[in-house]
């Protein structure tokens, strides 16, 4: 069968994928062409969206940046006359412009993303889907499942890195009439979209992982707690769940065994703290999402006081692969203590933004330069921010650092769930730390005093530093508060909230000091500390900047050099954006 696949993850749709899909449908119909048109999940190359793959007689052609206008030509030249349009192709037998982007990747979690139609259970099954649960139910004891997972070395992909096998063993050993299994799909980190892409692109792999986990610990009821901002992921999960019910893969006596499992979807309601496991469980119970003191751990007393295992989307998606391919193969990837692969959402000032899956142990430089293609506009690589608001900044000078739970923790950042934001010289590190702290401060649930008020006080200090009112002793106060917030908070949110501040203080202290003592922002990003100046030699007197100035601070006649009146200037930067000659500089 000849197939046309359009990448319709959220990013593909935002880039206009739905319109391209509809155009193909219309054209194929009007020209009476017999092709199977289907949608697929995220192919990972977000920077090349909209992506369309043609599968013709065992040969595949991947077109990038497809727009509605290009559809006609692809159909008439390629499909009807067999002339591939090389200029628009990103990958085919003869052409491959994305070698590095793909070559350094290892696809375990994303094995089916962008390949199968996520709304079709049959396509998942044709890729060995649900073979792992069959294997487990027919020949594995729960203990053997736990042993396999333990030996694979898989660690929690939600950020903490707790060994998955051990977590399952703890829940398995509890004696209780009811046990629960939860999938944490409350991906709240700004700049992270790994879980969403997996749920949108391959929901069945997550369900299969949950089934295996439920069998291992002895749970018969499961919940997927998904972020409400992910409507497409929720829709595809619902479809997947009803398909499983229809095929007898969920419900009573699955595949004729005595194992039964029901899975329900719970939509989150917009609270970052609900990504924390105890808060998440409170939220499922219908309460305010406030974390609880541990111990007792969820494996002992979780949802409604019953033993509960809670794992992240990516962790579950690994499980069927491990069962089918054996723990040895999984454990052969990665470093001594971090096995397998990790999915990262690569974004920020990087040429190739996208979803990448790399083996553990790869270096940061390899991700930035080889996979990501380097920095946008060839600016200077300054740092990567890893782990979202709980993580930290790792400077470019440490680019040879290996992706490994322990190595990253040693820098003061954390592995986190997989957001990887690349920043260049134009980003101010103080402002960047302020950005994250502002986020965690707003999202603090308010239970612990230090998290509630301490982060607020820290934010105030950062605000005054970026406004040019920083004073001697501010940095010491910031560090003191940071450590107190870390050790006096109950849950991960507060314990990690100071990380962005602490890591930037550790690696970019001079930038803070320049703000405080010289009242300058080296990245020219903090508006209060920037002065705009007209370069006389370059100004041609076009009056564009005069027109753009909201406060009437720029004056001058046509064809004469303009001037800025600093008493009136509000430093909004509109003149800087308006000038087409580069005659206005930031100092």
């Amino acid at each position: 069968m000849k197939k046309i696949k359009v990448g319709l993850g959220t990013c593909g749709i935002s880039a206009g994928g739905k319109l391209v899909f509809d155009k193909f449908k219309e054209e194929l119909y009007s020209k009476n062409l017999d092709y199977q048109l289907c949608e697929t999940g995220c192919m990972g190359m977000c920077y090349e969206e909209v992506l369309v793959e043609l599968e013709l007689d065992n040969e595949s052609f991947l077109y990038s940046k497809v727009t509605v206008d290009k559809v006609g030509r692809i159909i008439s030249e390629h499909l009807q006359n067999n002339h591939p349009i090389d200029d628009w192709l990103v990958k085919s037998k003869g052409v491959s412009r994305q070698d590095d982007f793909l070559n350094k990747q290892t696809r375990v979690v994303l094995r089916n993303c962008g390949i199968i139609d996520p709304s079709s259970i049959d396509e998942y099954i044709s890729e060995n889907g649900y073979e792992a649960i069959k294997k487990v139910l027919s020949s594995y004891s729960p203990q053997k499942v736990i042993d396999e997972v333990t030996k694979s070395g898989l660690r929690g992909r939600g950020g903490g890195g707790f060994p998955t096998g051990l977590k399952w063993k703890l829940a398995h050993n509890e004696i209780s009439d009811t046990k629960y299994i939860i999938c944490n799909a409350d991906e709240g980190d700004p700049g992270a979209f790994m879980d969403r892409s997996v749920l949108e692109g391959d929901p069945h792999s997550v369900l299969e992982g949950m089934m295996i986990a439920a069998y291992a610990i002895g749970a018969s009821e499961g919940f997927i707690y998904a972020r409400a901002e992910y409507p497409l992921a929720i829709k595809r999960l619902r479809t997947a769940l009803s398909q499983c019910m229809a095929k007898g893969l969920l419900g009573k006596n699955i595949l004729g065994s005595d194992f039964s499992l029901n899975i329900k979807i719970k939509e989150g309601a917009g609270a970052f703290v609900c990504g924390e496991e105890t808060a998440l469980m409170s939220s499922i119970e219908g309460k305010r999402g406030v974390p609880k003191l541990r111990p007792p751990f969820p494996t002992q007393k979780g949802l409604w006081g019953k033993p509960t295992t809670i794992n992240n989307v990516e962790t579950y998606a690994n499980i069927p692969w491990i069962i089918l391919n054996g723990y040895e193969k999984f454990a052969s990837m990665g470093t001594e203590k971090s096995k397998g692969s990790k999915v990262f959402a690569l974004a920020g000032k990087i040429k190739r933004t996208g979803l990448v899956e790399v083996p553990m142990g790869i270096t940061i430089n390899e991700i930035v330069y080889d996979v990501g293609g380097g920095i946008k506009k060839d600016k200077k690589f300054k740092a990567v921010q890893i782990g979202g608001p709980s993580g930290g900044c790792i400077p470019a000078s440490m680019g040879e650092l290996k992706i490994d739970y322990e190595e990253i923790t040693r820098t003061g950042a954390i592995m986190g769930s997989g957001g990887l934001i690349v920043i260049d010289e134009t980003t101010c590190m103080v402002d960047f730390a302020k950005f994250f702290l502002n986020f965690t401060q707003k999202e603090s649930c308010g239970k612990c005093t230090f998290c509630r008020i301490g982060t607020k006080r820290m934010l105030e200090i950062l605000e005054r530093i970026t406004e040019g009112n920083g004073k001697q002793g501010d940095l010491e106060l910031l560090e003191d508060l940071a450590l107190k917030v870390k050790c006096s908070s109950l849950c991960g949110l507060g314990q990690t909230a100071p990380n962005p501040v602490l890591t930037t203080l550790k690696y970019f202290r001079d930038e803070y000091e320049t703000h405080i003592f010289q009242k300058k922002c080296p990245a020219h990003s903090c508006s209060s500390l920037v002065t705009y100046r007209i370069i006389d030699e370059l100004c041609k007197g076009c009056t564009l900047c005069i027109k753009s100035c909201p406060s009437g601070a720029v004056t001058g006649r046509k064809k004469e050099v303009h001037k800025i009146n600093y008493d009136l200037c509000i430093k909004c930067g509109k003149c800087y954006d308006a000038c087409r000659l580069g005659a206005i500089e930031k100092i």
């Binding site: 959220t10 990013c11 749709i13 935002s14 880039a15 977000c46 920077y47 969206e49 709240g188 980190d189 700004p190 700049g191 992270a192 979209f193 969403r196 409400a228 901002e229 992910y230 719970k266 939509e267 989150g268 309601a269 917009g270 609270a271 970052f272 939220s283 499922i284 119970e285 219908g286 309460k287 305010r288 999402g289 409604w304 959402a345 974004a347 920020g348 000032k349 933004t353 996208g354 921010q385 979202g388 957001g419 934001i421 920043i423 980003t427 960047f432 950005f435 994250f436 986020f439 649930c445 909004c572 930067g573 954006d577």
Partner: protein
């Protein structure tokens, strides 16, 4: 206590929440609270005070506690919104690509701040932590349509389309 007239009649409320009533599980009534609130908000665009009392009766949780849940979660609103909802992304990728300028342009253009609705009720402005289309940063979403690679110029043009 609310006046009788303020309350929806039982059948009215039931119509609205009907398809979610089956969510009331027998053992854990309380876990239906958030889905019920979501369902009410889907129907009205916000959560009217009257419905809180009805849900309270349904799940056996005092209205004060329900109010606590509503105000805890960012998703729930106690006031109606404008015709078009603008969600401006404040995610990390958008931040490093200049979402701050985009936001100020948007606020200038609309004359409102985040969390407010324009006087004529055409636009409501909200900020979200991440829309997840980082490759298009900076991004905003109007209703269900995403607009990427924003500049202040592009914002003016986009808003114009929704004004008419």
């Amino acid at each position: 206590m609310p006046q009788e007239a303020d309350l929806f009649t039982r059948s009215e409320s039931q119509d609205i929440l009907n398809f979610k009533i089956d969510l009331l599980s027998r053992h854990h009534k309380s876990d239906s609270l958030i889905p019920l609130l979501q369902s009410a908000q889907d129907s009205y665009g916000y959560i009217p005070e009257k419905i809180i009392y009805y849900i309270s009766e349904l799940v056996g949780i005092p209205p004060a506690e329900i109010y606590g849940v509503i105000t805890f979660y960012a998703q729930f609103r106690l006031k109606p919104l404008g015709k078009n909802i603008i969600k401006i992304c404040q995610g990390t990728a958008c931040h490093v690509n200049g979402s701050k300028n985009v936001l100020s342009a948007l606020q200038d253009e609309l004359g409102i701040s985040i969390g407010e609705t324009t006087e004529e009720g055409i636009f409501s402005l909200e900020s979200v932590a991440c829309l997840g289309c980082c490759s298009l940063a900076p991004v905003m979403m109007i209703n269900n349509e995403t607009f990427g690679n924003l500049t202040s110029e592009k914002i003016k043009l986009t808003l114009r389309k929704f004004r008419t």
